[in-house]
Symmetry: D2
Subunit: 345 residues, 4 copies
């Protein structure tokens, strides 16, 4: 049994991690930390876990923690994780960081979107945790930068096509929509029930921190610079994310070639489901699961392709993919503990 | 491995059963039937189950089905189940019926609320499947009448108190609220999104078919006739049910006696969680789980007790409790396959 | 044209008042105050009012404000209003206070639920603004204590019956459900979208500050002490409130007598609609309107009556009733500016 | 007072028309028709209108109806309206048709998307009722084809820019999202609460009947063929629509030129609000109003412009714009009866 710790366990991603590790047949949750809830029992913070989780939040003391864990999930804010990752690694604890701190190869790109990076030397060994696309690298590293939810929803359908030069690298648009849990659990007017319910809006138009992350990964895949137009929107629902992606196919690319590329990448035993022709994702079909559903439509005349992907932003977009990466890093079955059956309804 | 069939698999309860049996370590789903979707693959009806469930809906042929199953869940409409149960029993298939057809001991009570009963002779051997309260009887029978969701939410908190004469048997009120999935999957104006969303209303005031079911069980428990006032309401949410129950305690009954009664009945290893004093259930804490949460407040001056219970109407209120009963009937661990972790969020 | 000011204009009740006064043919909005948004334009705070409302929030300076208004709505927190009401009255500005500060005749009752009252001398002249039931007194006063939303939903159906001794004064229960806007606009975990959405719970069980307000008004109506059991619940919707009230009728009281009592009190030209027999309120039918819908069911055998009322908590339960009171106080048609047509959908 | 009739009054658009005409100071509702609810009182179908609307649904008899109305709204299904419009016109009743039947100049375009047109001769005199952009033509006609909701949300921001050659006419994308009321009131699995709630999906990808309507109007405006990529999505909310439109500006076009073009078209006294730079529409700000909010972002480097528009699909997208057109046709103030104040909350 792998002994697992979760740092920053009382946000929405942290809560999902607690539940996933608790239900995982190959892992045992031995420690959770929280700054704001230190000393309080998990089941008092999340009454849904009463009689299920019996742990108390402790302070984030790297050395003390390292005694009782083999793997740590850092569900900490951006710019905080990088202060703790080095210590855990030094203590031979594998690190899966859910912030942006270890998602970039290029420190400059990180620093332009966030702030000065204080653990630059680790960026080289850090692996971008898009499980299906970096499986081998993840298996070989001790430090994973778990992808953002928006990048996950964009990259899973797009990266295979970009790698194979099936779509043009300029003019890509992602019109993305996320549920409210993506904004975190801290109270704010913007996530007040009455401000979100029965509403819908774009936000951070032309200026979202996930763009550099997406562009770096796409550019590496394409072996040339890729820029994208990305507009996130806020959906009046708790969990789920859907991206509608518009691109132009390269000359002579057909729908069958697109389908073959996706199916080659994502077999029936993976968490990415390529839907039959004419079917498109619906958030309800992936909610509460680790699946990413992908559908597409190619308009032959214009060469325009519309790719649609759906994930649960807290699972495949965060905690679920993090567990998947843990499974890979520790040589367990990739889907262990992730056979979630919630889905529709 | 128990081989399981589900008759009427394409309603909301049927879908939950499919998912639960699929994730159950001691059971195998070998057949599903559907009148309206005969010949269609489950994953085409419920795309959330793509790559997870690989079965096709067949017709409800009792003898053919009996060849490949040890246990059948009848997720059929009221008044339909009783036509099929006898055949399955004759073929040595254990039957868990989710309709009202086998919930009554007294055929007259059934017939006054529904219609003529065509399998009256089975009523004696049928056991009311309120798992925590009829565990031994369930273990010994081949035919369970799985409780309605409203009765489950009322009886779990109330039955122990009534049995022990801690509350008076007259003047009990249950103000109950259910999510929309309780109304079933068939399209109707009353369950149209725009008619339910941002709305809330009582329905069937003074006239709900669950009342005789609740009164029979309570009366048996109290060993005297119990009548209740029951008002169901429709909540603008998909799944979940909460009952606020008002009663009067008997003389000299204290809050501690109430608490002791509930804790004696429901240990920490059961699916019923008695909340600490001053805490009350919230649907979010039981959604997607098989738990029933119970809280109460006793006003000493007036002797009025307010009991609040919350369940997921599709799980503890239907499919979850049905699986729990299957576990009991087959001698497996009662909670097997029911360690659901969804809960809040 | 009456010149109107709103103190505390940037909460949800304040926003409704702004919209109502703006659309009112006999009133003109000349000043709004806000502590947190002082100096900011209303349309920047509420972009829905762009091109409709052209006012800037100012400080709450009683004397300066009194120059430009004939009537002030105090949409301030409990315990704040009583500091400002006396000054406005001295300046001959009529006051409609939406806090609890002037709802009580009995200062002791107020003080037991809130804190020391600093304007006790005004309590005698203050009139409880339940428009349909205190119309004459409201017309004659300069100071109205506008009722709480829960008391409005309870008293409109119940007070006529209690006055006429048609229901017993003991054993009354109100199981009430409110939308989230009732909790105000200040961000809090309890009103975070993800904590409320798809959830439902009771709160403040056995301990809600609206109880003394309801009991005082009922007791005055009954000319004997009335105590009630009141349990508020939080609905996952923005606006609307429904109360299901359980009482016992007095001897020989029939359904026709109940109906007659309500119809005598509430004619077809009022904002209270007594529904035909067998019909019950639904929040959707009153949402966005100033109506209160009432339905009831009397079980003859047990003598139990179930009364159901629905209002929009922000309109008939707050801002709408406040405007209705303004109309009465200034001798205008009672429904002026309140012909809201939103309702269902 | 204009005497108004509504044919097909019991769908969602019909209901909005009833409410708007009822509240309109210059119009009187004298007749409503309904096939499915013939002989039933409006207030029985829509209990929200009790004590407000006192009319009974009648059959759609053109000659009988024409006796008592000056203007008829045809809220009938596509392909039905064209059978009734000619008769009303012959009887000198002005017609505002809310179906697609009179939106096209080119019968072929209509027929390719719908079916054979049986009143082709009227297409020449029919005016496309996009109020702000065809005001003069609307004032001079007796037959208006009221725009679809999707086309309204797309054309209001885009048509002025296309007319002035500020954006390129190829490569335009509209990623549009609509509330559920757009799908109508007829029960269907696709609009069942549990199938929509907490969900989000695209539909009719690459194949939506609104596309020819949008392309015809844009092409006429551009004086050259315009083709667009349009993907509609279903939002889990009752009313509201938001379109995120991606285009490329023509050479030398600046943000100021875009802003000037929109402000020249839409003055502060219109129902189209051009938001300040950096602000974007939110459905909540237009819900329950006749406003269309528009915001945009121009990325200078790529020349990509992102235009965002929001409307209430039932008001500016249907019934509200229809009333606006009636006002124009009858020479009344354009905004009469449309000063709706609902907006946020």
């Amino acid at each position: 049994m792998i002994r697992v710790g979760i740092a920053g366990a009382t946000g929405y991603t942290g809560a999902e991690l607690i539940k996933l590790v608790t239900g995982h047949p190959g892992a045992e949750l031995t420690a959770v930390t929280s700054q704001s809830y230190r000393g309080r029992a998990v089941q008092d913070i999340f009454p849904s876990m009463r009689n299920v989780v019996d742990l108390t939040c402790e302070a984030l003391d790297v050395d003390a923690l390292s005694q009782k864990i083999d793997c740590v999930f850092l569900a900490l804010p951006h710019k905080v994780s990088m202060n703790y990752a080095p210590g855990f690694l030094k203590n031979n604890v594998k690190v899966i960081d859910l912030s942006a701190d270890f998602r970039f190869h290029d420190a400059t790109a990180y620093e332009s979107a966030y702030q000065e990076h204080v653990a630059k030397d680790l960026l080289e060994q850090a692996v971008y945790g898009l499980s299906e696309l970096y499986r081998d690298e993840i298996a070989a590293t001790n430090l994973v930068g778990n992808p953002g939810c928006y990048p996950t929803s964009l990259l899973l359908p797009l990266l295979p096509l970009v790698r194979q030069k099936l779509v043009q690298t300029h003019g890509i648009i992602s019109d993305s929509k996320s549920g409210v849990s993506g904004a975190g659990r801290a109270p704010a007017l913007a996530s007040h029930f009455c401000e979100v319910n029965e509403s819908f809006k774009p936000y951070k138009v032309g200026n979202h921190r996930h763009v550099p992350e997406m562009e770096e990964v796409l550019s590496l895949g394409a072996r040339e610079p890729v820029t994208i137009t990305f507009v996130p929107h806020l959906l009046p629902l708790t969990r789920g994310m859907l991206s509608t992606i518009y691109a132009t196919v390269t000359e002579n690319t057909t729908g069958s070639m697109i389908r073959k590329s996706l199916l080659d990448q994502y077999g029936p035993d993976t968490f990415v489901r390529v839907l039959p022709q004419g079917e498109f994702p619906d958030i309800r079909n992936v909610r509460g699961t680790n699946f990413c559903d992908i559908g597409f439509h190619l308009d032959k005349k214009s060469g325009r392709i519309i790719l649609v992907s759906a994930i649960d932003n807290l699972l495949k977009g965060a905690a679920g993919q993090a567990i998947q990466n843990m499974n890979i890093m520790f040589g367990m079955a990739e889907g262990m503990g992730l056979k979630l059956i919630q889905g529709a309804l």
